[in-house]
């Protein structure tokens, strides 16, 4: 169609329409009003803060934070700056939100596919779980899991032991960790990247090479380090090794079950949107149900699943802010502690908002790419 018209369109190009001055004028006016409103609000706030002798501005980020953040991947001491405290908080938010998203997706797909099962009991159980979890507020679920874990786990002086490798107590799950300096870790890290990549590249034999690669990587990490840090029971509970605290555990479990229930409904909608004819075609071809789902139904359902799934991921990331109710030190907890110490409410809350905005924009970007690949292409 395009090729036939271009020859004649070069000679007889239609005239460009005149500029719609009224539309442009009104939009410029509206924009000017919004900008003026924004500028007036900021100016008003600054004047009021200065009149009341309240410090303003982001200069406090360089000051010493003075409070502790007791878990996380980013090394942090109370003598570090506020900026580093916020970075540790963001790392903790990601450390809770990302596993929750991954696990919720797995749970959601499992429950959603169970909803279309032939067996009534499977459908009933899945429906029951989804309805129960979706109707209870997330904060209540987080608190329930946290209180359940802290009440039911064994006391910190008498943990459950798995030889001397893993200890389970109210203080969390302590796992023995290898002690590696940066230079010692180079070889295992290199192998962790190289071996799976090689297994992936050997495409015809992927079914065998990938599990083998996984075993090799695990073996390397278990055998390479020659000194391990084992958890041990001290004066005040278990210390040493890597710790998964009950706070992290309760938050991730509650987020997983809540987002998993919502994901289940999204997946169910996607599966039911695939035309009946596709199922009948798979029966005609003699595919088993798992084969039919994997090769025919689920790929077609993705175009319906991905847009609401994007919202679900964003909501899970934002819901992780409930961490502050159970003492998990995420960015909201770090920023509100800073707010209480220096009184700069507007700056600290803006930082929290900016962090979540950034995380969600990244999510939208990534899911936009995924969506472009699965959406219906009209010709």
């Amino acid at each position: 169609m395009a090729t036939v018209e271009s020859a004649s369109s070069a000679a007889l190009a239609p005239p460009r329409p005149p500029l719609n001055l009224r539309s442009i004028g009104l939009q410029a006016l509206a924009l000017a009003l919004v900008v003026a409103l924004g500028a007036w609000l900021v100016n008003n706030a600054t004047i009021n803060l200065r009149a009341q002798n309240i410090a303003s501005g982001f200069g406090f980020l360089g000051d010493t934070a003075g409070f502790a953040i007791s878990e996380g991947l980013l090394p942090y001491e109370p003598s570090d700056s506020y900026a580093r405290a916020f970075a540790a908080g963001v790392a903790n938010t990601l450390r809770a939100a990302l596993p929750a998203v991954v696990l919720a997706t797995v749970l959601g797909f499992a429950l959603g596919i169970a909803q279309t099962s032939r067996h009534a009991l499977v459908r009933l159980l899945s429906r029951g779980f989804v309805d129960l979890v979706r109707n209870v507020p997330l904060l209540v679920q987080v608190l329930l899991w946290y209180f359940a874990l802290t009440e039911l786990l064994p006391g910190t002086d008498t943990p459950l032991r798995l030889s001397d490798v893993a200890f389970l107590s109210k203080g969390g799950l302590n796992i023995a960790m290898p002690e590696l300096t940066a230079s010692q870790a180079i070889v295992p890290l290199a192998l962790t990247i190289l071996v799976p990549w090689l297994a992936w590249v050997a495409a015809p034999w992927r079914r065998i090479t990938l599990p083998v690669a996984l075993l090799v990587v695990v073996g390397v990490w278990l055998l390479w380090p020659d000194s391990w840090q084992h958890p041990e029971v001290g004066n005040f509970g278990v210390s040493g090794g890597a710790t998964l605290t009950p706070e992290w555990l309760a938050l991730v479990i509650a987020l997983t079950q809540y987002s998993g229930a919502y994901c289940a409904e999204i997946v169910r909608a996607g599966l039911q949107a695939v035309p009946r004819g596709q199922w009948e075609a798979t029966h005609a071809l003699g595919l088993t149900r798992p084969q039919a789902l994997r090769r025919v139904i689920v790929p077609q359902s993705l175009r319906v699943i991905v847009p609401p799934y994007t919202s679900l991921v964003m909501n899970t990331i934002k819901n992780s802010s409930l961490a502050v109710a159970i003492g998990y030190p995420d960015i909201v907890s770090a920023a509100t502690t800073a707010l209480n110490q220096n009184g700069q409410a507007i700056e600290c809350i803006s930082i929290i908002a900016a962090v979540y905005l950034l995380l969600n924009l990244l999510t939208t970007l990534v899911m936009g790419v995924v969506n472009a690949r699965v959406q219906l292409k009209e010709r």
């Binding site: 009003l33 919004v34 109370p78 003492g327 209480n340």
Partner: protein
């Protein structure tokens, strides 16, 4: 035409909303109190001895008594108080924004809070310090022995910073679990998630007396790692309100020093000839007029609320469940720190 009209309507309503908000004024608090008919008092969400509402909604406590004294002085009736329960993280902002007239919420008076937040403290009504409560262990007596413990803390107070500074200054390791609700942190300590709970000594005493199933298994370590002078605070910038708030607290302390209590004030009013007492009960020189109040302002405070000693005893002292000793909260004449400048 339709789209243009809608766009104009949106712009007009945006402008109208902008016009409704104006800059916040910090003065003339007394006028607004008289107009509202009640003192709006920011208090704790629920701490026995300081501010706690019972099942019928009636508030009682040391800070509550201060609010009632203010109402008695300014409005004539100690019952004309509106209580606003505030959590740790929100209390400062509530006072800064003018949502409450006074913050009587066992808030520590510190240099930073007094200068950089737009607030000013009116005095000290409780001398506290940060202490630690933990399960009794043989030989456990000093804070330095708590190295390696998991400590529950409440967010939004000086507690967190003091804890970090003390432990890092003494090179002691610890793990902290920070909650924004006091109930959650105390519950975590009671369930055994943390081995130690830290907070103001009065807070720990209330916890031990009222919330623990077997209080004798626990010990509050006698070492206090910080001084926490607690007192009411108001918004900076209103000198009239500052004078009233300050002298209300002083009047309660001065009454105890003069021996005036709610039970004998009427008989003293009828029969005393001491000029100091006569000034206080409203039969002598009029002192209230300098603050814009009538001459019976101090009489009403003691008659309706009591003097400082009475308030202390019934809320946190000998007549209460908490049974804290007067200690530093005793009069200066009896070895404590409570002193009022003379009312003359």
């Amino acid at each position: 035409m339709n789209a243009a009209f809608r766009l104009a309507a949106v712009c007009a309503s945006a402008a109208a909303v902008a016009g409704l908000t104006g800059p916040v004024h910090a003065g003339k608090v007394v006028d607004s109190i008289k107009q509202k008919g009640a003192v709006t008092c920011g208090v704790h969400t629920g701490r026995a001895g300081f501010a706690l509402a019972d099942s019928s909604g009636k508030w009682s406590g040391l800070d509550v008594d201060y609010c009632r004294a203010l109402a008695a002085a300014v409005l004539g009736d100690a019952g004309k108080v509106k209580y606003v329960p505030l959590s740790g993280p929100t209390r400062i902002t509530a006072l800064q924004s003018g949502e409450v007239d006074v913050l009587a919420r066992n808030t520590t008076w510190t240099y930073t809070r007094d200068t950089s937040l737009g607030l000013v403290w009116v005095g000290i009504n409780f001398y506290d310090g940060q202490a630690f409560i933990t399960k009794k262990k043989p030989g456990l007596a000093k804070v330095a022995q708590l190295a390696g413990a998991t400590i529950c803390v409440d967010s939004g107070s000086t507690t967190e910073k003091n804890l970090a500074e003390y432990f890092t200054g003494h090179k002691l390791q610890y793990k902290s679990v920070v909650f924004d609700q006091i109930e959650a942190s105390q519950q975590a300590f009671i369930s055994g998630r943390c081995q130690v709970y830290t907070g103001d000594n009065s807070n720990l005493a209330v916890l031990k007396a009222t919330l623990l199933k077997n209080p004798d298994d626990y010990v509050i370590l006698p070492e206090q790692i910080s001084k926490e002078p607690l007192g009411p605070a108001i918004h900076r910038g209103d000198d009239d309100w500052f004078a009233i708030a300050k002298w209300t607290l002083f009047a309660m302390i001065e009454a105890e020093e003069l021996g005036i209590s709610s039970s004998n004030i009427d008989s003293l009013k009828a029969s005393s000839s001491d000029p100091t007492i006569k000034r206080f009960v409203g039969t002598g020189d009029d002192l209230g007029k300098f603050m814009g109040l009538d001459k019976e302002w101090s009489y009403r405070i003691v008659k309706q609320v009591g003097n400082y000693g009475e308030s202390f005893d019934r809320n946190v002292g000998a007549d209460s469940k908490v049974k804290l000793p007067r200690g530093l909260m005793n009069l200066w004449t009896k070895g404590g720190l409570m002193i009022s400048p003379p009312l003359r």
